[in-house]
Symmetry: C2
Subunit: 482 residues, 2 copies
Amino acid sequence: MAKEKDFVKEITPQSEDFSRWYIDVITKADLMDYAPVRGCIVFKPDGYELWEACQRELDRRFKETGHRNAYFPLLIPESFFQKEKEHVEGFNPELPWVTQVGDDNLEERLAVRPTSETIFGYMYSQWIQSYRDLPLLINQWANVVRWEKRTLPFLRTSEFLWQEGHTAHATAQEAEEETKRMLEVYTDFCETELAIPVIQGQKTPSEKFPGAVATYSLEAMMKDGRALQAATSHYLGDNFARSFDIQFLDKDNERKFAHTTSWGMTTRIIGALIMVHGDDRGLQLPPRIAPTQVIVIPIGPAKTRERVLTAADAIVHTLKVAGVRVKMDASEDNSPGWKFNEYEMRGIPIRLEIGPRDLDASQVVLVRRDTGAKEATPIENVAQHVQDLLTTIQNSMYETALAFQEGRSQKVESVEALHHVVREEKGFALAGWCGDDICESQIKNETGATSRNIPFSPPATMDTCVVCNQPAKHTVWFARAY
Amino acid sequence: MAKEKDFVKEITPQSEDFSRWYIDVITKADLMDYAPVRGCIVFKPDGYELWEACQRELDRRFKETGHRNAYFPLLIPESFFQKEKEHVEGFNPELPWVTQVGDDNLEERLAVRPTSETIFGYMYSQWIQSYRDLPLLINQWANVVRWEKRTLPFLRTSEFLWQEGHTAHATAQEAEEETKRMLEVYTDFCETELAIPVIQGQKTPSEKFPGAVATYSLEAMMKDGRALQAATSHYLGDNFARSFDIQFLDKDNERKFAHTTSWGMTTRIIGALIMVHGDDRGLQLPPRIAPTQVIVIPIGPAKTRERVLTAADAIVHTLKVAGVRVKMDASEDNSPGWKFNEYEMRGIPIRLEIGPRDLDASQVVLVRRDTGAKEATPIENVAQHVQDLLTTIQNSMYETALAFQEGRSQKVESVEALHHVVREEKGFALAGWCGDDICESQIKNETGATSRNIPFSPPATMDTCVVCNQPAKHTVWFARAY
């Protein structure tokens, strides 16, 4: 692919223009390209590889919690959407419709799925007859389309990739437990694999999923202080079960409606990964998710080249055997300095340099992408040392992101203070809220911030509504959001 | 999911009605359900799991041969299809068109992709500037839609899942080599993993991909003697490069058109797996692809239950550690006899029975799904013995399928003989062909058989055309096909 080797394209500093920085980085790191279809991108191999890594780690967790994958149709008859009123109203403006096949008009329009509650609901009504059929725990990896007005690569695209879990349970309690369980799965994935600290909480009614009883979300802070919703998990009550007639004969011989959930994470998480960890030099990938964890760069003059390469090959082999994802760049087209910049920009966690003087000392040099710290380590223990360093980097990246998030989060007791926090200090504001939509939308209108969620574990509990000063029903995180 | 435990649904014998047998098996084994969208199915977990296993093994091979995954948009502007004349004519009648979003009409219709040569072609023209950008080797895992007239679960559905590789090369020779290389990859996958013998060859002009210079295919014989095209690999010459202006500056400083290929395998391979190996008792899965390779069934009276379960748990653990995909059914709802039938129907390669008498003798009993052979083996060596037996079964299933295919394949020297072979003896007919479309379509009209491919290694070379008796240009396999 065109690597534009002939010139170094500068990355706009984050402090100058965060949006430009983001586009510069994802373009320069070759993660995506704009597609000739409105609001769509092509996930190029280096970008798609990040999604594959996320899929691997999420899929493992879904299977460990008893879910199985399946695949449901892309095209959904219009009548299905009509069955759940809130749902159709929520999605209708964004729905692409297939109306013709070849030269013939279809009798009923088919929507390109924006989400699959309706088609799962229909099939579940066929499959679920008895309490023995429950719980039914299915996940789907799929593409979905929502014709968004404003789009941004990875974060909001007309078509995106995601997984959507859809489960059915005998009781409300079991369904609620499932909803929370999957929020925990997403939390563990974000914090352990992506080194992204997240805030767990419940969406306010105005922000919940169309058709849900309750929507829970994970919110993460990007480096510009904006929030990004990293995952959602919906408790749907028996709303969809009633719309699609998902009934079962219970142990007590009574017919009952099932209780359902749905939960999803999308390719926008790639955007989060970039905006939580990236810096002015480019990407910064946490070791556990990085497709390449170590880049080996042989250095030194031509006369020592063969000797260095032989040693470097052996080290690559040793690291591979130890399970480290390692690559070597031994090309002679580019200087070591060019390579250092290139792989820093691509976010590879560790650079391993090896030259003739290192060989004389039976050592290699390891350079951390996150701190820039350099250290020499004996070749003898290189695999163990690299693995330890990868763990150190992973933990350190998480701690750094957490400190950043906490440092940019504040309690506020007035709309003015909220405005100041989200727009001047560029962070999250914790505020009391009376529960009235009007107060919520006033905040949005005056500050541009939306309610992110009602956190399960707020750092403080606020007594009065930040707008109307009435007693607060909830303590809510507000932020400008992607 | 509704397991219909209360009655045993009979499977129609293959000899009575092969099509009914097929539908009975995929329904009873819970692989799929019909979706409420014309010609679409839901891939249920047990069916989707087979696709996941295929994906794992194919993806590994694609990466080993230097390909990377990416993801391109689902919706393709109509104007893109118009750029390659043969291509649009070939696909137009089957294309679903998105014409509206929400309540608004689109300015240009968007096709739901039936295949992605056009959008890859467009992007490749942006990405490829120099010989340094070549070869470009990308694969995509995706859903595609083709509005087929007659549909059959897995084999031919309006929407299906597949992978599509799209590569670009500096020379015709490199592109042709790639086309053949991927045919070899598919061959190795079919024969090694699926135990399906395949016939490699080139499609006749009337059967090639719209827009291709040459299409190569793998053809497999189902148990009813019909052919199924298991994979195709297309050499596209510079046709798409010219339509989409994929040009590069070569080493000699001349601008040249790239040469491209595409190649794909779809979820119809699941149908092949079933129809090559299945029998009147149900599925029969080759060990290497089987999601579960061994089912452990504890037997014996209640008073020995605890002792047997403890031993069975230990064996399951031992097998798992050895890398065997094993499950145990210790439920008390069903009898051992019911379980034997159930897991035979589901095609699990080995049943491991363990009861109190076996324990007294420090042994377990292994039963092969393919031959029904039973043998006792010491618990001490159980993992090694199971692994050996899995290998034996895998090889034996391949040999059985190969013998079946060879036994049903014959040379023919007249259309009558060809008719007899494909309709009465239900097999493949090898015939000479002059190369004229008229003779090819006469065979189709008179016998219902189509040309499958011109094999690379025919068992014999035929001298005269089976229709017109003119000198044969090619020796061709003819068969009725799915």
